[in-house]
C-alpha cells in the first residue's frame, strides 16, 4: 500500500467519523440544552393505539430526561377520549394540558375556546432547533394543522384513502391500477370470482364510512358545501359519486354493508378482495406473516376519480392539541412536548419501528429505509398532494351521520341515490340553520 493510499484511507475514515458524529450531534440537539420549563409538570392524555403507546413508553421518558419537564401520561380507549375531555373541559378542571385529537373535530372544541391557537408558540422559540411548519408537507399544514387558517394541532399521523390492489390478480388479468371509477367498477366485475371479490370498502353505518362518499364526491368534482355553507353534495357530482359507490359494492362481499375498517383490512389481507379502499394504517397487516396471505402480492395506488376530474382522497389524521384551560407555563411546556413528539426525529423513528404507517414529515417520506419497509409510501406521498378534509364545523359529526344514512339507504335500494342525497341535504340544512351557520 502506498503512502498516498494510506493518507486517503485515513482521510476518508476520519471524515466518516466526523460525519457520523455530526449526524449524532444533530439528533441530540433536540432539547439537548434542556428547557426553561424544567421542573414543570404537565398532563397528557392520548387514545389507545400503537403509535401513542410508543410515544408514551419510549419518547416521553426521553423528553422528560432532556427537558426536565415531568409528564403525567394517560392512555384511554378512543371511544372514551372525547367524553372524558368534554367532561373535564366543562368542569374546567384543567386536568389535561395536551391530548391527541382528530382535526375534523376542531370545530367542536374551537368554537368553545377549549383549544389553544398555536401560531404564536412557533414565534416564541419554544420548539426544538430545526422544527417548524416547513418540515410538514404543505397540504398537511392546510388540512390537519389548521381550521379557518388558525393552527390548532401538531400533526403526528395523517390518514389518507388509498387503493390497495392485488398485483398478482391484476397481472394475470392484464390490468393496471384503475384511474377512474368506471374502470374500477369494470375491474371489480372482472376480478370477482368467489370466494375472491372485486373490492372491499367501508359500508357499515358509522362515522368513518362517510370518508368514502367524500372521497368519491371530491373525485367527481363536487363539494360538500358552497362558500356560504349551503349543502351542495346532493347535486349532480354527488349523485354520480353515490351511484358509483352503489355500483362498486355490487362486486364486494355479500355483507359489505357491515364492513368497517377492520373488516376491509382483514378481507384484503386474507386474499378475499382484489382491491380495497384502505387507510395507510392497514398496510402493516398486509406485510405481517401472521395476518396476511398477500405478502409480496399487493401494492397501493391512488383512489380513482371521475373522468375529467382529479383524485382527492379524503382523510384525517391525529394531532396533539393543547388545552386553553392550562396555565401559560403549562401551555408552553405542553407545546414543547407536542413539538418534540411531532418532530422529524420521532416521526422517522416511529415509522422505522413500524408503529406509524402515516407520517407527516416530508423528510420521512424521502428516507430510503422507510421506502423499502413501507410499500404504500410512494402512493401515499402522491395522495397527500391532493388530499382533502371537509371544512371543519361544529356539527360535522351529525352531518356525517346524515350522509352515511343516505349512503346506506341508496346501497340497500330503499331510495335512489338522488332521493337519498336530496333528503340528506334537507336534514343537513336544518342542522346548519340550528348551528346559526345558515340563515
Amino acid at each position: 500500500m502506498t503512502k498516498g493510499t494510506v493518507f486517503l484511507a485515513t482521510l476518508v475514515l476520519v471524515s466518516g467519523i466526523l460525519f457520523c458524529d455530526l449526524g449524532v450531534a444533530a439528533t441530540q440537539e433536540l432539547y439537548a440544552g434542556g428547557s426553561e420549563f424544567a421542573g414543570e409538570t404537565i398532563s397528557y392524555i392520548g387514545e389507545d393505539g400503537p403509535l401513542y403507546r410508543y410515544h408514551v413508553e419510549k419518547w416521553i421518558p426521553i423528553f422528560e430526561k432532556r427537558t426536565g419537564i415531568k409528564v403525567n401520561a394517560e392512555i384511554v380507549p378512543a371511544e372514551q377520549l372525547d367524553v372524558k375531555l368534554v367532561t373535564e373541559f366543562l368542569a374546567e378542571t384543567g386536568a389535561y394540558n395536551i391530548f391527541t385529537w382528530g382535526p375534523h373535530q376542531y370545530g367542536e372544541f374551537a368554537t368553545k375556546g377549549w383549544i389553544e391557537p398555536l401560531a404564536k408558540y412557533f414565534k416564541e422559540d419554544l420548539a426544538p432547533k430545526g422544527y417548524g411548519i416547513e418540515q410538514f408537507l404543505p397540504n398537511i399544514v392546510n388540512t390537519i394543522m389548521c381550521m379557518n387558517g388558525e393552527i390548532y394541532g401538531l400533526p403526528i399521523s395523517v390518514d389518507v384513502k388509498l387503493l390497495a390492489y392485488r398485483t398478482d390478480l391484476f397481472s394475470e388479468a392484464g390490468l393496471t391500477p384503475p384511474e377512474t371509477f368506471s374502470q374500477e367498477i369494470r375491474y371489480a366485475r372482472k376480478l370477482t370470482n368467489p370466494p375472491t371479490y372485486g373490492v372491499a370498502i367501508h359500508g357499515k353505518q358509522y362515522d368513518a364510512t362517510v370518508w368514502v362518499f367524500y372521497t368519491f364526491l371530491w373525485g367527481c368534482g363536487g363539494e360538500i358545501y358552497d362558500e356560504n355553507w349551503n349543502p351542495t353534495f346532493q347535486q349532480e357530482p354527488g349523485v354520480k359519486a353515490l351511484t358509483a359507490y352503489c355500483d362498486l359494492i355490487e362486486y364486494g362481499p355479500p355483507d359489505i354493508l357491515t364492513y368497517d375498517f377492520m373488516k376491509v383490512e382483514s378481507c384484503f389481507a386474507s386474499g378475499r378482495a382484489a382491491m380495497a379502499h384502505i387507510w395507510p394504517g392497514s398496510c402493516g397487516s398486509f406485510v405481517n406473516p401472521e395476518t396476511s396471505k398477500v405478502i409480496g402480492k399487493w401494492d397501493a395506488a391512488q383512489i380513482p376519480h371521475w373522468e375529467g376530474c382529479v383524485s382527492h382522497p379524503g382523510g384525517g389524521g391525529t394531532v396533539y392539541t393543547i388545552s386553553s384551560q392550562a396555565s401559560p407555563r403549562e401551555k408552553k411546556a405542553a407545546f414543547q412536548l407536542g413539538a418534540f413528539l411531532s418532530s422529524e426525529e420521532v416521526d422517522l423513528d416511529s415509522v422505522l419501528a413500524m408503529k406509524n404507517a402515516s407520517p407527516c414529515c416530508a423528510a420521512t417520506f424521502q428516507n430510503s429505509r422507510v421506502k423499502e419497509m413501507h410499500l404504500h409510501f410512494p402512493a401515499m406521498f402522491e395522495a397527500l398532494k391532493t388530499f382533502r378534509m371537509p371544512r371543519s364545523i361544529a356539527p360535522q359529526r351529525e352531518i356525517n351521520s346524515v350522509v352515511v344514512l343516505a349512503m346506506q339507504q341508496a346501497a340497500i335500494g330503499e331510495k335512489s341515490p338522488r332521493q337519498a342525497l336530496a333528503d340528506a341535504a334537507k336534514k343537513v340544512r336544518k342542522i346548519l340553520e340550528e348551528a346559526a351557520v345558515l340563515k
Binding site: 372525547d82 367524553v83 368534554v86 366543562l90 370545530g107 367542536e108 368554537t111 368553545k112 368467489p194 370466494p195 357499515k204 353505518q205 358509522y206 362515522d207 362481499p253 355479500p254 355483507d255 354493508l257 357491515t258 361544529a394 356539527p395 359529526r397 351529525e398 351521520s401 344514512l405 346506506q408 339507504q409 346501497a411 340497500i412 330503499e414 340550528e434 348551528a435 346559526a436
Partner: protein, 292 residues
C-alpha cells in the same frame, strides 16, 4: 342502658344502611334527578357551555321527530320478542334442569356461560356467526338446502338476528332465577298432585306456574327493562344499520348525547325511556296478580 337498647332497636339499623343509601344517592338518585332537570334545558355542547331553560320543548322535539318513532317501534319489537323468547326458552330449560337428568350440573354450567361473556364480545362473536359466506349459521342453513340470507344487511332478517343473539346471551339469567324458584317449590305438592292423577301439564299450570309467580314477575320486569335498552350488541353487530333499521332508543340516546352533544334532547330521551320502564314494571305487577 335503656337508651342504648332503644338506639340499637331504632337507629342502629339505619346507621348500617346509610353507606348503601349514600352510594345509591350518588350513583342513582342524583344522576336521575339531574338528568330529569337537564331535559328541560336546551344545552347543545357543540356551540355553547350555557344552558337555556325551555320547559317541555325538548320533549316536543323528540315526539315530533320521525326517527324517534321509528326507534321506539324497533325498541318495542326487540323488547317484546326478546322477553318472550328468553322467558319461554328459559322456563323450558329450567324445567328440564330441575329434573334428575344425567350430567345436570354440567348442563347448568353450560347454559350459564353466555351471560358471563361481555356484551361487546358477544356482538363480535355473533358478527362472525352471521357472516354470509363463512358464518357457521349459514353453513348449516346451506347444508339443509335453504338459500343463505344476509343476516345483518337484509331488513327482514336483521331484527330477528339481534333477537336471536340477545336471547342466546340472556337466557342464562332467566334459567338461574326460575331454577331457584323451582327448587323452592315443595316436592310434596307434586307428589300429592301425582297421586290425585294430575297430568304433567296440569301440574305445571296449577302448581308450578302459580307458585313461581313472584319469580316470574321479577324475571319479566328485569328482562323487559334490559331488552328495552340493548346497546352493546347493536353497536357491534350493525351500528344501528342498515339505514337505521336497528337503531333503538338506546342507540338514539347515545348518539344524540355523545356524538351530537345535544345534552338536553338526550336527557329527554333518557327520561322517556325511564318512564316507559317504570310503566312496564307497574303493568307487570298489576297483570301478574300475586296473592299474599
Amino acid at each position: 342502658m335503656k337508651g342504648f337498647r332503644k338506639f340499637k332497636k331504632t337507629l342502629l339499623p339505619w346507621l348500617f344502611m346509610t353507606p348503601a343509601f349514600l352510594i345509591l344517592l350518588v350513583v342513582l338518585a342524583i344522576p336521575i334527578v339531574w338528568t330529569c332537570g337537564l331535559s328541560f334545558y336546551d344545552w347543545s355542547l357543540l356551540y355553547t357551555t350555557e344552558k337555556t331553560f325551555v320547559g317541555f320543548k325538548k320533549y316536543a322535539e323528540i315526539l315530533t321527530s320521525p326517527i324517534f318513532w321509528k326507534s321506539l317501534k324497533i325498541t318495542m319489537i326487540l323488547t317484546v320478542a326478546c322477553t318472550f323468547f328468553e322467558f319461554i326458552i328459559g322456563l323450558a330449560l329450567a324445567l328440564l334442569l330441575n329434573r334428575e337428568i344425567r350430567a345436570r350440573n354440567i348442563f347448568r354450567g353450560l347454559f350459564l356461560i353466555p351471560m358471563m361473556i361481555t356484551p361487546i364480545v358477544v356482538g363480535l362473536q355473533w358478527r362472525w356467526l352471521y357472516d354470509t359466506e363463512y358464518g357457521l349459521i349459514n353453513y348449516f342453513v346451506g347444508m339443509i338446502g335453504f338459500s343463505r340470507p344476509n343476516w345483518l344487511i337484509n331488513k327482514s332478517w336483521v331484527l330477528p338476528s339481534i333477537i336471536i343473539a340477545e336471547t342466546w346471551e340472556n337466557c342464562g339469567y332467566v334459567i338461574l332465577f326460575l331454577l331457584a324458584g323451582l327448587q323452592s317449590i315443595p316436592q310434596s305438592l307434586y307428589e300429592a298432585a301425582q297421586l290425585d292423577g294430575a297430568s304433567r301439564l296440569k301440574r305445571l299450570l296449577n302448581i308450578t306456574l302459580p307458585l313461581l309467580k313472584p319469580v316470574i314477575l321479577i324475571v319479566l320486569i328485569m328482562r323487559s327493562v334490559v331488552s328495552f335498552r340493548i346497546f352493546a350488541l347493536i353497536y357491534t353487530l350493525t351500528g344501528g344499520g342498515p339505514a337505521n333499521a336497528t337503531k333503538n332508543l338506546a342507540m338514539l340516546t347515545y348518539e344524540t348525547g355523545f356524538s351530537y352533544w345535544r345534552i338536553g334532547q338526550a336527557a329527554a330521551l333518557a327520561v322517556f325511556m325511564m318512564g316507559v320502564c317504570m310503566f312496564m314494571g307497574i303493568f307487570y305487577i298489576k297483570f301478574i296478580k300475586i296473592e299474599r
